[in-house]
Symmetry: C2
Subunit: 594 residues, 2 copies
């Protein structure tokens, strides 16, 4: 079976060479995460992931979760792993120190998340969902609720969930049916059915804190009438003691394509006691404040699995002897050459590598902006960073998960027939990766969010946070010796992106279907250029350092950058054509002719 | 769950409108398959597939095959379905009437195969492998062997397998270890281990006839030293009676990503009695003579699953109400509009439709050539058709299975979260489709076959069988009113293909890695153009018939053709760039830096 080693060298590169981590470290609230501490955190995270999470990834997939009359049992070893994970402080790594967390900036936590997703995405779902619930409470709940619930969630003794989807609606939450009736004591009685609730029920923690979207009796129609409630599995006394079981029960768990060790639950709320979080009817904005972090995290799931698949495939290609090089035997003393002599095998590996490393860099770019938006002392810097995050979030979520899925498939393909066999573990990556393109807003919805909301917002100011620095970089570097060959293809793709953006803005105002028809390809074009910019900058650094390169790290960066420019970025042309094709043909076919 | 209806209208269109089936019907050996008979065959095949194979597709996936001490049991219902299938004559539909078959031309059988793959690929593997073994025996075995084994295989009482792969080699069969020692009576003792043997053991038939690649004691090294043997599971007496069990046993079955109801076996030959098929050391050429048929069939697996996924997704998109059209509510009386109001949902469906229908047309083009190569009275026509088949086979195999996989994934994406849940059946299509990109020669190997063997063969004469008719068609139609808008994009992509072909031929002669590095993208470019040609011709017919179009069939064809030209074919530009990038960057990275 494939082995995984956390790509610490490349993580340190994006953290401290491609970007300047000291910027983040100097912001208030981030001072404790000095470079030394960060190094120790990354080393320790790698150890936990490689030694505790990775060994139960395959077995967890084979066994899956068990449901018995509302009780959900996770696969063998998950409870022990979770205990070790929580005791190590990993459930609270990114949480507020006021509630017992460690306050790690997203720049650091994003790297830890990648390692978790590479080694055991199913496992990662449990603390991941808890963190989502924590973040929503932290931003919107009253101090009383926060004091009562957050410390246990941060230490991992209690878990959390996000209960949004219902059987008849996922993307369109405006039509949810779950209702919340006010009770005399100020709490609410919650009734309704939620589906696809990740970590909705399990045996890892003593209590589970559900965050539930529901409608008050006087709720306006649509998404403006949705409120957010905290519904604990077990009631909690004012002294923090565990009380009786609340009227919320797991009706069943789903049998899924992948992430089988993550429980995906139907949750039945049958007059369960809940507490309003934030203001009435403000549930959707409350969800949205944490969505950018969440969507970056889902993007990182794609990257994590893409990285794991790459590592497995590269090792297999090195070790597997079969066939001969097209140019003549490379290892004539052996019965066959390694798979790495074949250009097509290298093409697959380099494609995965170029997109993985490009996403890691781009993820850091966005994570830094999240940190800046939260921690910077200058409100102008905060606002600019927030605008950048708004713009880039849907791109990160969709691009990383699409490429992540593609890269897990490349991993299988390098393995040939063995890739299709479960015991090798490569096909699990494909099945696990597939969900990330769907949940937390399908990738089609991300594309609509980009063209319909993020681009037009603030008269295009979000866009300028991307276009200005990229344009400036291109102008400053396109003619430089050596670097020019990387920047010229970027300039070409960037021009296409600028033109497509202008065209789409105009057309979309007249007819929203024009934006909708081009959205997916436009998002991809945007992502290609953004990652292209990362690769140009990585090439710049590698060029500067290539003479002191004992392990070949910078040489590899340069070759991979060239590969990206030659064989990935040119997709911008085809995307541009598709964007320009407009909506007429797409909208022309009658519904009953599909 | 999704329902499947055989796309008989479109099948009749490619058979009798896009092409002229009477050409095939007039060839000797095909006369019995008159248009009336063909219609009845297709109707009946649709019934068998929809009513017998489809209902056990999901349950077969859930249950999988069982192995117990060498005995393999197929999932519930498979044996009964197989009996009905064999009794209906479907195991012998494409077999020689001399041995009890019905002699259907490939033009017809390809359509039947598509329906089988749409409804139950796992099931289809059993008769599919038998047919492969039948075809190899029919072409290469002695009359004595044929008389003894073929009739039972044709009637489906006995099954067959192809035993090629070994643990250490799949693609590179030159290094197989299985050996064949001559015995005094002229038979051979076969010893070795074969893996990934589809239908290697099962409970559907009384006997299983293995075709096994092995090396004789005096065998030359490499692929020139491989011989083909017939090894029955049970010995067969001269009177056709079943004798004692032969020394071949199923050591285990694989646990796979998909096609779980198809047994994939490790087969241990432990001094099993075998009979030489054809001449000593001629096993590989014997395999290759049937490979073109097989590879077309595997391509059709991709198409079949892509079609099934499209149908499921289109039905779901029509029925599922969620969200509102970007241009304002389309069904204001309902709580939400159907998914079909969203351009991005239509983009996904039209992508699947354009590629599925394009592949169906292209598959027919190649199937007709297979029939012509086999049955035509004019040896020149036969040779030309054979050249065309040689050229197009790797393209069909790789393009259809890549697109088939993509289309099953589009189907899942249209379903959103529900697509990831097993009970809906959409994710099974993804898992089942994945193998077709790997087996019968990985798609990377198909690409190498195209650029390394098929293109240079006969000084490029194979190529002319494609380039000449397409060029002539473009010249005759590019300026025509109405049709021109379809032919112009084709002409542009065709020019790129011509240029890439010339460039690759030159560069590849100097350095084979140049061909290898471009092979996958070149194959895709070739396939895009070939399907583009099909769409131009389909548009031509639809334009001519659009005024008499009660069910909107031709209108749909025209819109789908436009979609292909606007949004699929432009990928040719990006592919062209990747092809031109050359092999330098790909080959530059040291093996230990991957």
């Amino acid at each position: 079976m494939a082995q995984y080693k956390a790509p610490l060298r490349d993580m340190r590169f994006v953290l401290g060479e491609l970007f300047d981590y000291s910027d983040i470290n100097q912001m208030p609230g981030c001072e404790d995460f000095t470079p030394d501490v960060v190094d120790a955190v990354l080393e320790e995270a790698a150890k936990v992931c490689e030694e505790i999470l990775y060994p139960i990834n395959r077995s967890g997939d084979e066994e899956g979760c068990h449901w018995d009359d509302g009780v959900v049992t996770t696969p063998k070893g998950f409870k022990e792993a979770y205990d070790a994970f929580a005791q190590g402080g990993w459930t609270g790594i990114a949480c507020d120190p006021v509630y017992g967390g460690q306050g790690a900036p997203k720049s650091i936590n994003a790297l830890v998340e990648e390692m978790i997703c590479s080694t055991n995405l199913s496992f990662g779902m449990y603390p991941g969902l808890s963190f989502g619930a924590y973040a929503a409470l932290h931003s919107h709940a009253s101090d009383a609720l926060k004091d009562k619930f957050l410390p246990k969630m941060v230490e991992g003794t209690w878990a959390g969930t996000m209960c949004l989807t219902e059987p008849h609606c996922g993307t369109d939450l405006g039509i949810i049916k779950t209702k919340a009736d006010p009770l005399a004591d100020g709490s609410y009685s919650i009734t309704g059915t939620k589906i696809f609730i990740s970590a909705g029920e399990h045996d890892l923690t003593e209590n589970i804190i559900h965050l539930v979207l529901a409608k008050l009796p006087d709720a306006p129609k649509g998404t403006k009438g949705i409120s957010l409630f905290l519904v604990p599995k077990f009631m909690v006394g004012d002294d923090g003691s565990m009380g009786k079981r609340n009227a919320v029960k797991c009706g069943s768990i789903e049998h899924k394509m992948g992430i089988k060790a993550s429980s995906t639950c139907v949750m039945n709320f049958d007059g369960a006691i809940g507490y309003l979080v934030g203001e009435p009817h403000q549930g959707m904005p409350a969800m949205f404040t944490m969505m950018n972090q969440e969507r970056l995290s889902v993007g990182i799931q794609g990257l994590g699995l893409g990285e794991a698949a790459y590592q497995g495939a590269a090792a297999y290609a090195r070790d597997r002897l079969q066939g001969r090089a097209l140019t003549g035997a490379k290892s004539p003393e052996k019965p066959a050459d390694s798979l790495l002599v074949h250009p097509d095998i290298r093409r697959m590996l380099l494609t995965a590598r170029a997109t993985n490393e490009g996403c890691r860099a781009m993820g850091m770019w966005v994570a830094r902006a999240l940190d800046t938006a939260k921690h910077h002392t200058d409100p102008v810097k905060r606002e600019e960073a927030e605008e950048f995050v708004q713009l880039m979030t849907p791109i990160v979520k969709a691009l990383f998960t699409d490429w992540g899925f593609d890269n897990t498939n490349l991993g299988v393909q390098v393995f040939g027939g063995h890739g299709y066999i479960r015991e090798w573990g490569m096909e699990q990556y494909v099945r696990d990766a597939r969900i990330a393109q769907i949940y937390e807003g399908t990738n089609g919805i991300q594309a609509l969010d980009l063209v319909g909301r993020k681009m037009p917002a603030k008269a295009g100011r979000n866009l300028r946070r991307f276009f200005h620095p990229v344009q400036a970089y291109i102008e400053a570097n396109v003619s430089k010796d050596g670097l020019g060959e990387f920047v010229q293809p970027l300039a070409k793709a960037f021009m296409r992106l600028q033109q497509a953006t202008g065209e789409l803005a105009q057309r979309g105002m007249k007819n929203p279907d024009e934006a909708g028809a081009a959205a997916t390809e436009f998002l991809r074009l945007f992502g290609l250029v953004a990652v292209g910019f990362m690769w140009a900058r990585m090439a710049e650094i590698a060029l500067a350092k290539k003479d002191d390169d004992p392990d070949g790290f910078y040489k590899t960066k340069l070759i991979t950058a060239k590969f990206y420019m030659e064989r990935v970025l040119p997709q911008s042309g085809a995307l541009f054509s598709a964007i320009m094709a407009g909506s007429k043909t797409i909208m022309e076919l009658d519904e009953d002719l599909f």
